[in-house]
């Protein structure tokens, strides 16, 4: 309970400062809306179902792009981390593609997929692909040599080492990659929606901005924050549940 209250201190202080600034009209509402205006905007978006639709639209893109990225980058990362040959083959192209910001892919996303789910999903795919790939790769490379040797002296073949030692040993790193990848991918989707989409939370924010409805902008932003937080929390719980030994010394 104490911990819970502690977690509330800073948000409550911020809320008070925010209220004081806006209710006194020290800051006009077209610069920063008051908490009350945000609540009104939230209520309106909720009853019309708009908020739900846009959130679902963003989420479905995230799920599509993120799962596609995970399905390709995890096996690829494990392969590159394990095999020197694969590393030599893939490393140059990864190093060249990796620094390109996902949003730089927007023109091709539009050319190849047009407006809609696929283009956005492609951007999130690019955004989450590299963090997941590199974390998986590092996790495999970071597996303690002596654990592999221990398995060998217990009679493990290379395949058995890979499945029974390397995979479980690198699972915390892979999961970390998923969390980072999701965070980046999620940010990319919203940013991409601002540029090229007809739905989604990013689109909602840009539309509200066009109408100077700052309350709605804040609602969009907070919804993004809360969804991101909820999914990260979920992944963290998965980690705690399935990797109880994570972070502990061996």
């Amino acid at each position: 309970m104490k911990k819970f209250l502690e977690a509330l201190i800073i948000p409550v202080i911020l809320l008070i400062i925010w209220s004081m600034l806006t209710f006194t009209n020290l800051v006009p509402s077209y610069i920063l809306p008051s908490p009350y205006e945000v609540l009104i905007a939230f209520y309106n978006l909720l009853v019309t179902g708009e908020l739900f639709l846009h959130a679902m639209s963003t989420l479905s893109r995230v799920v599509a792009g993120f799962s596609a990225a995970a399905m390709i980058s995890i096996p690829l990362g494990i392969g590159i981390g394990w095999s020197k040959t694969l590393e030599r083959l893939f490393n140059p192209i990864i190093q060249i593609l990796r620094p390109i910001p996902p949003l730089a892919w927007v023109p091709f996303a539009l050319l190849w997929f047009g407006l809609g789910l696929k283009a956005e999903a492609f951007i999130i795919f690019i955004g989450s692909f590299f963090p997941i790939l590199l974390n998986s790769l590092d996790a495999v490379k970071g597996v303690e040599r002596v654990l592999i040797e221990a398995a060998c002296t217990l009679g493990a073949t290379e395949g058995q080492v890979l499945i029974k030692v390397v995979l479980p040993a690198s699972s915390p790193g892979i999961l970390l990659g998923l969390r980072v990848g999701f965070g980046i991918g999620f940010m990319c989707t919203v940013a991409a929606e601002m540029i090229a989409a007809k739905s989604g939370l990013g689109y909602l924010i840009m539309e509200a901005m066009r109408l100077l409805d700052t309350g709605e902008v804040v609602v969009g932003m907070l919804t993004i924050g809360l969804i991101g937080f909820a999914i990260d929390y979920l992944l963290l719980k998965v980690e705690e549940r399935y990797i109880p030994w994570r972070g502990k010394t061996i």
Partner: protein
């Protein structure tokens, strides 16, 4: 002869680590290898395990040359090497799982071995919940569950405090007595070697050569303060001291 090392030498790049090692290990023997640090004793053990290749020479296990690591040569490392994602029981059954034994059967074998070191109540614990001494007990039992032909031990008690170390030495002798294992045990601790071994191989400073092999004929459990114990310990220490000075 169960294990025969013939004209073995090892170089890392151009640096010689081991030189002309010839050694035979008998069935059921407890052999200790001591030497100054960096003399290549761990490397020698790793070559027997198949984790490293010799530069020249060969090792025959029951007449067959060693090509790589295998379940017939169990290894206990100095570092903690339990799989952190597996419980104690799952760690011990690891080798049996690789051999595709039925679950019931492998767990029965594992429990029997855990009883040997008094850890059956910890079967569902994870390694991070165990003390250093317990981890090494499990590591020994994990190697034993495979019923290996040889048990290779690389300073397994070096990271433990002196009381735990002495306790585990006694437990190891008890296990050795029960299982009739052939044990090759590397240590830099002469006291430990004299306490445990049937024979002690003393290696020189790098590159490691065999300086002398001592047969220890003191009755077990050995009294560390007895005259014979101290005399032998002193003799070996004197040889090693000279080696360290030479460098």
């Amino acid at each position: 002869m169960p294990l025969k090392i013939e004209g073995l030498s090892k170089k890392f790049k151009d640096r010689p680590i081991l030189q002309d090692i010839n050694l035979q290990v008998e069935d059921g023997e407890f052999l200790c290898i001591v030497g100054p640090s960096g003399c290549g004793k761990t490397t020698l053990l790793r070559i027997i395990a198949g984790l490293e290749k010799p530069t020249t020479g060969r090792i025959l296990a029951d007449g067959r040359p060693i090509k790589g690591p295998g379940a017939d040569r169990g290894f206990v490392f100095q570092q903690y090497t339990l799989f952190p994602w597996r419980t104690v029981l799952e760690n011990v059954t690891f080798g049996l799982e690789l051999k595709e034994l039925e679950k019931d059967e492998r767990e029965k074998i594992a429990i029997d071995y855990l009883k040997l070191v008094g850890l059956e109540d910890f079967k569902d614990a994870y390694p991070y919940e165990l003390s250093g001494g317990m981890k090494q007990r499990v590591a020994i039992v994990r190697a034993l569950a495979n019923n290996p032909r040889f048990l290779l031990m690389d300073e397994p008690f070096a990271a433990l405090d002196i009381q735990t170390r002495n306790l585990l030495q006694r437990e190891l002798l008890y296990i050795w007595d029960k299982t009739n294992e052939t044990i090759i045990f590397v240590t830099h601790n002469v006291d430990e070697a004299v306490f445990l071994a049937d024979r002690i191989v003393v290696l020189s400073a790098r590159p490691g050569r065999i300086l002398k092999i001592f047969k220890v004929e003191i009755d077990r459990i050995r009294d560390r303060l007895s005259k014979e114990f101290l005399t032998l310990r002193g003799e070996i220490l004197k040889i090693l001291e000279k080696e360290v000075k030479l460098r």
